[in-house]
Amino acid sequence: MLGIVRGRIARGGVNASSLQKIRNQSLIYASSRSYSSASKEMTVRDALNSALDEEMSADPKVFVMGEEVGEYQGAYKISKGLLEKYGPERVVDTPITEAGFAGIGVGAAYHGLRPVVEFMTFNFSMQAIDHIINSAAKSNYMSAGQISVPIVFRGPNGAAAGVGAQHSQCYAAWFGACPGLKVLAPYSSEDARGLLKAAIRDPDPVVFLENELLYGESFPISAEVLDSSFCLPIGKAKIEREGKDVTITAFSKMVGYALKAAEILAKEGISAEVINLRSIRPLDRSTINASVRKTNRLITVEEGFPQHGVGAEICACVVEESFEYLDAPVERIAGADVPMPYAANLERMAVPQIEDIVRAAKRACYRSVPMAATA
């Protein structure tokens, strides 16, 4: 498998020299704001799997490492079929040591390989967090550009269903605070494909936060997205639904909730603009601010703990840059400030629900000068 040459790219039949040109073209396609008419659907799981497959095929330096990624086909089947196709040198099953394999991944990246390290969930990344922050994020800076770390740390993040406190924390805010890292949070299959490819190709360390409950969800997908050179830009949010009365920012699973909330709000005469952040770091401050300047109201939604969360950062940046445009205080919807309980009824109360978003949006709309749009 070491003989895999750069030019042999699996799908699309493009050769390396025209790759860049097509990449640029597909960026234009990707930034269009609606799904182009497509009858094809793809689950997020398949989107991730195909992205890994194509990137491994295109670059022999890319390899996958983690617990159960090989023989077991991946704890969540994201790496299905890869061991068979690329062999044990490029799909490495590791002993149970997050600190160990994160360190090894960083070392391999130091020396020019492009590892994709899987954490079974990001909760376990805490056992490796020294390597992620001190060895990966800071190395390029500390070595003055001599050591670059083109590594991707990926895995499910945030709450699943009935898995309790140590399997449900959202790490977007923690990793989003660190200079040197890029932090991505895909929602749809298009996001998953485009952002994972971008992450693997990126020369900086990337933390890629997936969501277990989204793996099985299907999204419509266009031909451009299916092309093997498809890639999304890092640091650009996507406006999933345009609106004019209130801006709702969200990432990962909460995008779906925000969209459903927007549907409900529309019936009541409130036009909500839903922004899918896609990138936690760098945060697309200009898209968020432009939207707030249009709607004058902002709700941030996240699953993670409220204190020092992503919403806090978004609120601060909007207050810094668009204060005069705000007609109502910014409201943060976040998970409850408790470790995640297990019992189904308690768990439901500990994460944001669609009704929470709807009520917050209404509050933002009512807290305005009477002539604003009200029900």
Binding site: A99, F101, H131, S139, Q146, I147, D202
Partner: protein, 486 residues
């Protein structure tokens, strides 16, 4: 011992018919370890006194029944080969996940401390004379003199830069005094293609590879010429072209990283290995366990060099681990290991050369424990006289000095003289003082270095911040230090 064996065999035969007896009632007593005392005379038998106790073919006097302490009867494997009445053997092997294991009916714990510690490989004695029949790699005059002068240069550099910190000219320094043989002789055994991931007490490896005194000084002073662009504390050297990864302050993180880098070499089938260094303290980190375990499983060509210098800041090795040093830990991970006299340059050289060869041709990790002593303080932030006796430090500084020991050997070969010595030292000192002066006077790095390299390319928010900073400086020049270039 022999008497005991014979008796126990007869007891075993006696017991075979009674096998049911000790299986059931003594099931619980089996779980209570008894006190085995090999020194006591082997006069106890099964009858009478020991009724109810585990039968004595397992040991000589289980009189302290229920006590928690026990020693193994002897080190090394010894199995009782019991024959049952049909002439078959009760000692069989069985397949478990992980391989075939043979059984023993002797309950024997592997001792936690062997009677003898693993011996230490050395070539030169304390007077610099080659020990008879020692096996080592011959070193030419040229190579020996290169090693010697590098060791002297390292010692001089350490002494002078340490003083510079004391004078307030640099903020921090740490020396490798006492470990010059490890620094230089290991480097001499490697090729420039071997990738080095240091801890922080191995600047000699970089020195050997051609890093100049000026380059060292530039990093310590954090000036414009520093390859680190003024980002790091002194002694955090790094150089891509010398294949020496930038020093990182966190302990032992380089251990699993070395495996990753070695994996890359392995995939490319390069004729090179990764060498990584750490101290005795570093072996307590979780990364040590993960790294060594992984290296063995992945069959990565890494040479692990542990500088066991007796101290981790103020923690002596007796408080760091209870094993026989670090060399025995290699075996636990399935890694070939050796213990070497770290103050014997020739032994260090030979062992490292051999380890490198094995690591590359057999594609497996090797562990070398170098025994030495940290003569200096941990760093300029430490005063080791507070936790260890001054005469102990003096002893290792003088009588056990690796440089003078190697000097004696070099002298005896007629390759060096006192005149050469004083010339060399004067020369190095002059060069170094000059380098320090130049480094001190040199400009500091420009402020653009504050923002670059966070990512591969400058992101827009940092671009903005830089502009804001420059504007601020323009508006308030009196608040900005005049000697720092904008």
């Amino acid at each position: 011992m022999a008497i005991w064996l014979r008796r126990s065999r007869s007891l075993a035969h006696y017991l075979k018919a009674e096998i049911g007896f000790w299986k059931v009632p003594n099931q619980r007593s089996f779980l209570n370890p008894c006190f085995f005392n090999p020194e006591k005379s082997s006069s106890t038998t099964l009858t009478g006194e020991n009724y109810g106790n585990p039968p004595s073919f397992l040991g000589n006097s289980p009189t302290l029944f229920g006590s928690r302490r026990f020693e193994s009867i002897k080190s090394g494997r010894e199995e009782l080969d019991l024959e049952d009445e049909n002439g078959g053997h009760q000692n069989q092997a069985m397949d478990f996940p992980g391989g075939r294991i043979s059984f023993t009916s002797e309950m024997k714990f592997i001792s936690e401390s062997p009677r003898e510690r693993i011996p230490c490989y050395r070539v030169l004695d304390d007077d610099g004379l080659p020990i008879m029949h020692s096996s080592f790699v011959e070193v030419s005059k040229e190579a020996a003199l290169k090693m010697f002068s590098n060791m002297v240069t390292l010692e001089t550099m350490d002494t002078i830069l340490y003083e510079a910190q004391r004078q307030g000219r640099i903020s921090f320094y740490l020396t490798s005094i006492g470990e010059e043989a490890i620094n230089i002789a290991t480097a001499a055994a490697l090729t420039p293609h071997d990738v080095v991931l240091p801890q922080y007490r191995e600047p000699g490896v970089l020195l050997w590879r051609g890093f100049t005194l000026q380059e060292f000084s530039n990093q310590c002073f954090g000036n414009k010429a520093d390859y680190g662009k003024g980002r790091q504390m002194p002694i955090h050297y790094g150089s891509n072209k010398h294949n020496y990864f930038t020093v990182s302050s966190t302990i032992a993180t380089q251990i699993p990283q070395a495996v990753g880098a070695a994996y890359s070499l392995k995939m490319d089938k390069k004729d090179a290995c990764v060498v990584t260094y750490f101290g005795d303290g570093g072996t307590s980190e979780g990364d040590f366990h993960a790294g060594l375990n992984f290296a063995a499983v992945m069959e990565a060509p890494v040479v692990y060099i542990c500088r066991n210098n007796g101290w981790a800041i103020s923690t002596p090795v007796s408080q760091q681990f209870r094993s026989d040093g670090v060399v025995v830990k290699g075996k636990a991970y399935g890694i070939r290991s050796i213990r070497v006299d770290g103050n014997d340059a020739l032994a260090v050289y030979s062992a490292t050369l051999a380890a490198r060869e094995m690591a590359i041709t057999e594609q497996k990790p090797i562990l070398i424990e170098m025994l030495t002593y940290r003569v200096g303080h941990h760093s300029t932030s430490d005063d080791s006289t507070k936790y260890r006796p001054v005469d102990e430090i003096e002893h290792w500084k003088t009588a056990r000095n690796p440089i003078s020991r190697f000097r004696k050997w070099v002298d005896k070969n007629g390759w060096w003289s006192d005149k050469d010595e004083s010339e060399l030292r004067a020369n190095v000192r002059k060069q170094l003082l000059q380098a320090i002066q130049v480094a001190e006077k040199a400009e500091k790095p420009p402020i653009s270095n504050l923002f670059t390299d966070v990512y591969e390319s400058l992101p827009s928010n940092l671009c903005e911040q830089e502009e804001l900073l420059r504007e601020s400086i323009k508006r308030h020049p009196q608040d900005y230090p005049s000697d720092v270039p904008v």
